[in-house]
Each structure stands twice: as structure tokens, then as C-alpha cells.
């Protein structure tokens, strides 16, 4: 696994260079959203909106009505909390093709509760016409733009920034689950930054004799229901979801709804923020403290299977590619 530095910056340049109707909209977080290079190269297509998020979303609804393609960049949390009414009425109802690029999803920022989008999926999943995408590695960050641009309606994307690991070698595929491991004991469903954690855990579990089917979801709405149920039918014990989000309304709830409606009768453990706010601290610390990490997943697997393993933090560290992560700083503002 290797880290890619600022994959979004180059991806957006490459994407927008060839598409003159694409506009880059920013709310005073231009370099924080890695679009300063685009601003300098295409100032005529860069719209600085300052701190006017409510106006910005309604305005983008108007631009999209006229056939332009605005890509709005700011921190994820500022795209839906303050301007939710504008998102509903100026964009979602009219099914405007506005692309909302949300940076620093969940607890990937030390900015504390004001900066941590921990309920965005829950809020936006309930909004008709929305499509929700979440990137989990550098390849998905590099290839999500064309996927988002092809959607006939508004799209919200959780984008990773800075040094992003490359986990996948195939591009973002709309509404498809990635199958990352096969096993018959249980199904692990992850999205975004939790996928890397689960990859480490599932490798350690395999060595301990536990068979894990690991699915990575990058399209959260719509959701690949049939593929999920197919995988579910092949495991003995049930499902564990792990998400960079509150367990209320996000990936765990998606799984719960599908399992209940299908009458699967299998158990489900939802890992993620347990209906709590986090606070401002480093990402590794928050992932450990709030149980979004590989060790928490291993313990949940033991609970689900009823069998303990001897996997501990040290064993998981051994799976982790230390040289990759030693170069990574805690995400700054």
C-alpha cells in the first residue's frame, strides 16, 4: 500500500480541463479542498463565494438550471448543516445537477464537533433525489468525479484529502460493492476510511482461522442491495458494519433495513460512533477512542462468532504498513 499525496488536486484538474461547462465553486476553503491549482489555472471558471454557504447552494441551483455544472467545494459539514433548507429547496427538489464535494468526512478532522460531519449520511440519505458517494482510497478519489458527473441529479461526495492510501487498482464503479475478501463465517461491510482498518483486521482474522467476507461500499445511495444479500447468504453468523459516522442512519442502518426487509434472520453489529459526538483530536486517537478501528472490529467478530482470538493491537500493528503511515501527519485544518 502506498500513500498518494493530494489525489483530488490533480484529479479535478484533469477532469475539469476537458469540460468547459464545469465550474469550481469554493467557500473560503480553497487550498483546504485542494482546488487552489485549479483556481490558478482557470480563474474564469473558479467562483469564490466566500462564507455565504446558504447563498452558494441556492446560487448553484440556478447555475445548474441554466445547464452549467457546478462542483461545490468545502468541508462536508458546511454543505448540509447550515444550508440544509437551501439544499432541499434550491437543489434536491428540482433534481439539479449540483455536485457537493465534502471534505474531511466524519472524524478525519481534529476540528471538533463543528467540523466533523458525523451524521451527513443519515441526513442526506433521507432526502429524495440525492445520490451519496464515499471515497475510500486514492483511486476512488481520482475516479469519483466522472461517476458523480454522470448522475442525473444532485450528488454528495465524501472526499478524502492530503495523503491518501491507495487500496484499489480499479476505478470507482457506481453502485457496486467491492469484494475485498471471501470467507464463510461473517460479512464485514465498510466504507471510506474504515475499509483500510477492516482490511487489516480481516487479514489477521484469516490467519486466526476466521473467514471474513469483506465488502467495501462506495455508493451509499442508491445501495447495491442484491449484491449485499448474495454475500450475506454465504456467511454463517451475520454482519458487522464499520463506518466513519454515527451508527444511526448510516451504513449500519442501511444494512439493517435490507436485512430486516429480506427477513435474513441474521445478527448485525453496528460499529461507528455509538450515537455520540466526538471531539477535536487526532484521527488515530479518535478511531481508537470511539471504536472505528481494526481492534474494535476484531472484538466484534469474537462477539458474533462466540470464539475468541489472540489478536491484539500488536498483531494488528504488524499487519499495518508502518512505513506508509509514519509519513502521514495528523490531518490539519
Amino acid at each position: 500500500m502506498k500513500l498518494v499525496n493530494k489525489p483530488y488536486a490533480q484529479a479535478f484538474l484533469d477532469f475539469a480541463d476537458a469540460r468547459p461547462e464545469v465550474l469550481c465553486v469554493s467557500a473560503d476553503l480553497t487550498s483546504s479542498c485542494e482546488i487552489d491549482g485549479f483556481r490558478d489555472r482557470h480563474p474564469e471558471r473558479f467562483l469564490s463565494m466566500g462564507l455565504t454557504e446558504q447563498n452558494m447552494l441556492s446560487l448553484c441551483g440556478g447555475l445548474a438550471l441554466e445547464g452549467l455544472r457546478p462542483f461545490v467545494h468545502t468541508f462536508a459539514v458546511f454543505l448540509y448543516r447550515r444550508p440544509y433548507d437551501q439544499l432541499v429547496n434550491s437543489i434536491a427538489y428540482s433534481n439539479r445537477k449540483v455536485r457537493l464535494m465534502g471534505f474531511l468526512p466524519g472524524i478525519t478532522t481534529p476540528g471538533g464537533i463543528t467540523h466533523q460531519a458525523i451524521e451527513d449520511i443519515a441526513v442526506l440519505r433521507s432526502l429524495p433525489n440525492m445520490t451519496l458517494l464515499e471515497t475510500g482510497d486514492a483511486t476512488e478519489v481520482e475516479t469519483v468525479l466522472e461517476v458523480a458527473d454522470a448522475v442525473e441529479g444532485p450528488v454528495y461526495v465524501r472526499v478524502l484529502r492530503g495523503a491518501v492510501p491507495r487500496l484499489f487498482d480499479t476505478p470507482f464503479a457506481f453502485n457496486q460493492l467491492r469484494s475485498l475478501s471471501q470467507g464463510e463465517d461473517l460479512l464485514v461491510l465498510t466504507a471510506g476510511i474504515t475499509t483500510e482498518e477492516a482490511m487489516r483486521a480481516s487479514r489477521a482474522l484469516r490467519d486466526a482461522g476466521v473467514g471474513v467476507t469483506h465488502l467495501h461500499a462506495s455508493t451509499l445511495k442508491p445501495f447495491a442491495r442484491e449484491a449485499f444479500l448474495d454475500a450475506l447468504s454465504g456467511v454463517r453468523h451475520g454482519v458487522i458494519t464499520l463506518e466513519n459516522h454515527t451508527i444511526v442512519g448510516g451504513l449500519g442502518s442501511i444494512a439493517a433495513e435490507i436485512m430486516a426487509e429480506a427477513g435474513s434472520g441474521k445478527r448485525l453489529i453496528r460499529l461507528g460512533l455509538q450515537d455520540t459526538f466526538a471531539h477535536g483530536a487526532s484521527r488515530p486517537y479518535l478511531m481508537r477512542k470511539y471504536g472505528l478501528d481494526a481492534l474494535t472490529l476484531v472484538r466484534a467478530v469474537e462477539e458474533l462468532t462466540g470464539e475468541t482470538t489472540d489478536i491484539d493491537e500488536a498483531a494488528l500493528e504488524a499487519v499495518r504498513l508502518d512505513e506508509v503511515h509514519s509519513a502521514a501527519k495528523a490531518e490539519a485544518l
Binding site: 452558494m56 441556492s58 446560487l59 432541499v88 433534481n95 429524495p128
Partner: protein, 307 residues
């Protein structure tokens, strides 16, 4: 003389909204009184619109816009075809819908039958206008969003080099919304001059007067400080409105503050002050008295018979 036609349209708007309010046991009557004259001037003089291209009798609601709903439509066609030269007209206070429908009828853009569909289940002629309602093309019922959406349209038109302007109708209460001032800052920053705004300064909002609810102070001063060219005019003086609407400032938006009387043409409504937002009939005989008194005002020659 254009004034004669404009006054006919203005009177027609008041009469239609009045008759409708009586038939429906309530309605947005004061909005017709305050806005009839400037809306009539806009539709007959100021706005550069093509002839209506929408069905004279509005279609039923065809479902919300969605990727899998090819039947969804907007009410923009009542304002004519959208071409580079023609204006657009965005109605931000969607609760003026009844007044707008009346204006569309008086100017031959909608059939009078259309008003019979007002607030009827399954129809598009809704009480609070939505984008599918006649004359509407964006969602504005949540106040303060119409101006920003119009701004997006105007910026797109500026990039295309369209000659036509984007006109926006605002209510004064909307100046309390923070988003309105965000929009004015952005217009100023981008020197946007293809947008023109007319505000119904009737001093009324749902709770009562603007002054008692949340006072706006010197609106013209505030708007000028935000970079707009402001014309502070009598919103019932059709010649002043016509004149101000001809101004085409460079590098800044045009704002017409139409100072209006929410009882103009229906003096009897003064008795209902300070709550003018929506006329309801609660006491016995209340409706009959209002109808008799206002009918005498609207039809001094006695031709008003409610039909």
C-alpha cells in the same frame, strides 16, 4: 396610452384576487393591494417577455422532478420562451401566487379558468407557488432563496453573453433573511448588472407590521451600502415604476423599492390592521360586510356582482 392598459391590468388583479378570496372564504388580499400596480407595470411595460408558451389552462401536477420522471414541468412557459434577448422573472415570495396568477390572466398569459384550479387537490396552481405553478420556475416558498437562485441564473446568463435581464420580485420581509444579504455581497463582488430586483415594501409580514416584528430601518441606505443602485419609489405610481425600471446601471444590481399600501384600492382592509398577511373570516357577518364594502370600492359604477 399605455397607462390606461396598465391600470386596467392592476384593477383586474385586485378584482380577481378579491372575488377569489370571497369565494374561498379567505386569501392573500393585502398582497394584491400592495403589488397590483407594480406587477401590472412590470408585465405590461418593464419585462421583456415573449408570449406565453404554456397551456392556457395549467396542467395537473406531474410529480416531483426526478431522474425517472420525464413528465415533471415548471411554470416558466407562462413567461414565454427563454431566449438570450428576453428577460426572466423570478417570484421569490411564493405566497403571492394568487396575485401572480391573476396578473397572468389579466395579461393574457393564462386562461381565467386556470384560477378555478387554485389550491385544488392534484393541480399545479398551488396556494404557495412551487416551480410547477404558473409563472414559477424555481422553488421559493422558503423565503430568501429566490434571489440567490436568480443570481445563479444571472451569472450563467452573463457567461453566455445574454442581453436579457433577470428580474426578481422580493417581499420586504425577506430582507430579514441573512441569505438575502449574502446574495447582495456576491452580486457586489462580481459586479453583476444583469439582475434587477423589485421589493414590495408594504411593511407587512405574518405576525403584523415589519416595524413591530423586526424592523428593517433605512432599507435604501442598507442596500446602497451593499452596492446596489436603489430607486426608492411609490409602488403605486406606475409612471415612476416604468421610469425606474428603465435604468440599466453598470456593474451593480438595480433595486426598485416599491413603497406600497397593503390596503390600496380596498380601504376597508384598514380596519383589519395590524394583521394583514392573510384574510380570514372568523366572526358572523364579517365576510358579508367586507364583501359589500370592498365591492363598492372596486366597482363604483355598481357592475360588481361577484360573477
Amino acid at each position: 396610452m399605455w397607462q390606461q392598459e396598465t391600470r386596467r391590468v392592476a384593477h383586474g388583479i385586485r378584482c380577481r384576487v378579491f372575488e377569489h378570496t370571497i369565494r374561498n372564504n379567505g386569501g392573500y388580499l393585502s398582497q394584491a393591494c400592495s403589488s397590483a400596480d407594480f406587477l401590472a407595470t412590470l408585465y405590461t411595460r418593464t419585462l421583456h417577455l415573449g408570449p406565453a408558451i404554456a397551456p392556457p389552462v395549467p396542467r395537473p401536477f406531474a410529480g416531483p422532478p426526478a431522474a425517472d420522471n420525464p413528465h415533471a414541468f415548471t411554470g416558466a412557459g407562462y413567461h414565454g420562451e427563454q431566449t438570450p434577448a428576453w428577460d426572466r422573472f423570478i417570484i421569490s415570495p411564493a405566497h403571492y401566487a394568487l396575485v401572480i396568477y391573476a396578473a397572468l390572466i389579466e395579461t393574457g398569459r393564462m386562461d381565467a379558468q386556470g384560477l378555478e384550479l387554485f389550491n385544488r387537490d392534484g393541480e399545479s396552481v398551488e396556494m404557495i407557488g412551487a416551480e410547477h405553478s404558473p409563472g414559477m420556475e424555481v422553488m421559493t416558498g422558503s423565503l430568501g432563496q429566490g434571489l440567490s437562485q436568480a443570481l445563479g441564473i444571472a451569472m450563467a446568463r452573463q457567461r453566455r453573453g445574454d442581453r436579457g435581464r433577470v428580474w426578481v420580485f422580493l417581499s420586504d420581509g425577506e430582507l430579514q433573511e441573512g441569505q438575502t444579504w449574502e446574495a447582495f455581497q456576491v452580486m457586489d463582488h462580481y459586479h453583476l448588472d444583469n439582475i434587477a430586483i423589485i421589493v414590495d415594501v408594504n411593511g407587512q409580514q405574518c405576525d403584523g407590521t415589519v416595524a413591530s416584528t423586526l424592523r428593517l430601518g433605512d432599507i435604501a441606505h442598507r442596500l446602497r451600502a451593499f452596492g446596489a443602485e436603489v430607486h426608492d419609489i411609490d409602488g403605486h405610481d406606475i409612471e415612476a415604476i416604468d421610469q425606474a425600471g428603465r435604468s440599466r446601471p453598470e456593474h451593480r444590481p438595480l433595486v426598485l423599492l416599491a413603497n406600497t399600501d397593503p390596503c390600496r384600492g380596498m380601504d376597508y382592509l384598514n380596519r383589519r390592521r395590524p394583521k394583514m398577511h392573510y384574510v380570514r373570516f372568523l366572526k358572523p357577518g364579517e365576510k358579508e360586510e367586507l364583501e359589500r364594502e370592498i365591492r363598492n370600492e372596486l366597482y363604483p359604477e355598481g357592475q360588481g356582482d361577484g360573477t
